[in-house]
Subunit: 326 residues, 2 copies
Amino acid sequence: MVEPADADAKQLAERLLAGDRRALARAITLVENGDPAGWLVLRSVYPRTGATAVVGFTGPPGAGKSTLLAALTGLERAAGRSVAVLSVDPSSPASHGALLGDRIRLADHFLDDGVFIRSMASRGALGGLSEAALYALLLMDASGRDLVLLETVGVGQAEVDVATHADTVVLVLMPGAGDSIQALKAGIMEIPDVIVVNKSDHVQAEATVRELKAALALGGLRDGWQVPVLRTCATTGEGVEELRATLLDHHRDAQVSGTLAQRRRGRLRMAVLGLAALELRRRFEAAIDQDPEVEHLLEQVAARELDPASAARALLATLDARARPS
Amino acid sequence: MVEPADADAKQLAERLLAGDRRALARAITLVENGDPAGWLVLRSVYPRTGATAVVGFTGPPGAGKSTLLAALTGLERAAGRSVAVLSVDPSSPASHGALLGDRIRLADHFLDDGVFIRSMASRGALGGLSEAALYALLLMDASGRDLVLLETVGVGQAEVDVATHADTVVLVLMPGAGDSIQALKAGIMEIPDVIVVNKSDHVQAEATVRELKAALALGGLRDGWQVPVLRTCATTGEGVEELRATLLDHHRDAQVSGTLAQRRRGRLRMAVLGLAALELRRRFEAAIDQDPEVEHLLEQVAARELDPASAARALLATLDARARPS
């Protein structure tokens, strides 16, 4: 017998697979909220994922990522390809409106059915945003979009985590962005697949490109691919066609070399282990909830009689002893 | 018999308790790196913690938190009290130098033995920064500082997590910061204990104070304490003495009402449970490492035959079946 929730999810999944924008939006909301119906939809559509390229854009605020994304989307649309855009802001606590400024830059595409735009911001959920972004990307993929663009704000660890969901990672810098170059050199920033110096009309653009190429000379290969440094001017569209061609090149190269399959395997692995770990954490919290022995340990810590690490060890020993048959 | 590592940690702990700055710096580095010796030091000094007030400063970049911190530190020093400052930047991937700009603002105090300054940035460690900050604060507390100041950069969830380590939370805003007021109104931002409108010479300062008071009129009580809205000008020192008095007031109030003990209990609880959960995660990762059954599940996910959530469930069922005696 099919449960009503199952039937609803099935119908939503079918509409999503048929390319229905509203079904896609609804399904993303469901997985974002951790709604079981979202998992049902994802389960249904999952076999139909994997065909779409996901290109991620990262880099410091103000580098012009959103404008570049809008320009690239324009070219894709002119070529008759449909696009989905996911904007993720891990540093913002608000769920809606946080990326309004960025979305406005995509306003040209708001009325175009061939472009689906979605924002996501941190909701403080345990292990939440990066996973929610991955599921949203899978749903976008299943909905038959020809290209999925992922944009992250900032260059912190949370952004790096999200950027790893992309098949191709583009680092967008502005001329004179010395900090980013230092970070690349120091190996703090993971090497992207493509580097773009945007605002190429800036007086320092040429020097920045040169500096980046010098920084990459020591380690510009990523998975056998020579990381190119491109110049764009997103506002005039200069260099964006070349960027588009480079993205296609990288996707083909990654397909042939096996890098694509390997990266996807890696992130799906992380997703599965993350979900399992989350469930273990839930079980752990249920096991200790209002447990008198655990409360006693915590009281000792509050009274400064027992330090936190020793208390954690004692807590686990208590749980282990209970799990073992006596 | 005492192990050599134990003896070293014991000695370090003794120097720390005696107020030795270098011992404090070394101990923080050890806990930051997850070094077992760090835990030994923390265990030794833990009974001596709890006497120091921890005041946290949060708010958007550019509001002048660091300048305010420096001004407050100056007043504390003039009153003969010793200070420790912990600056935490969850959005920065670099460990050192990330907060150099802020530290420069504290440069007046660099040569003063009565002021200990430390920066911490995200190192991408699993569940790392917030915990590392808590242990650093405990070590600063144990070292006999009269006041510990905690500064976070930004207003994201990671910053909020860190800010909860403080006994008193000060939200520093600049005049005209409409977004922050909106966030307060919408209940997105947790209500702080004290709100400071810095740069009070700004033309919009008065209006911002009025707007904040109006926003708080509906819910300006926090744990029975009426949240005050103060005006400061950190560069001239105006209003900083009043802020200092307010911080002392809040600490006394929280002590009398029991809020202080309750908050500290809450965060120590989180620390213990976080450490236990981290160890469970480590065990989980060891249990699945190179396990053929788990690898088979992951292969099915990569082949799009099994969705991530179903695979996670199957994985846990496998582990559960093994743990149970057959």
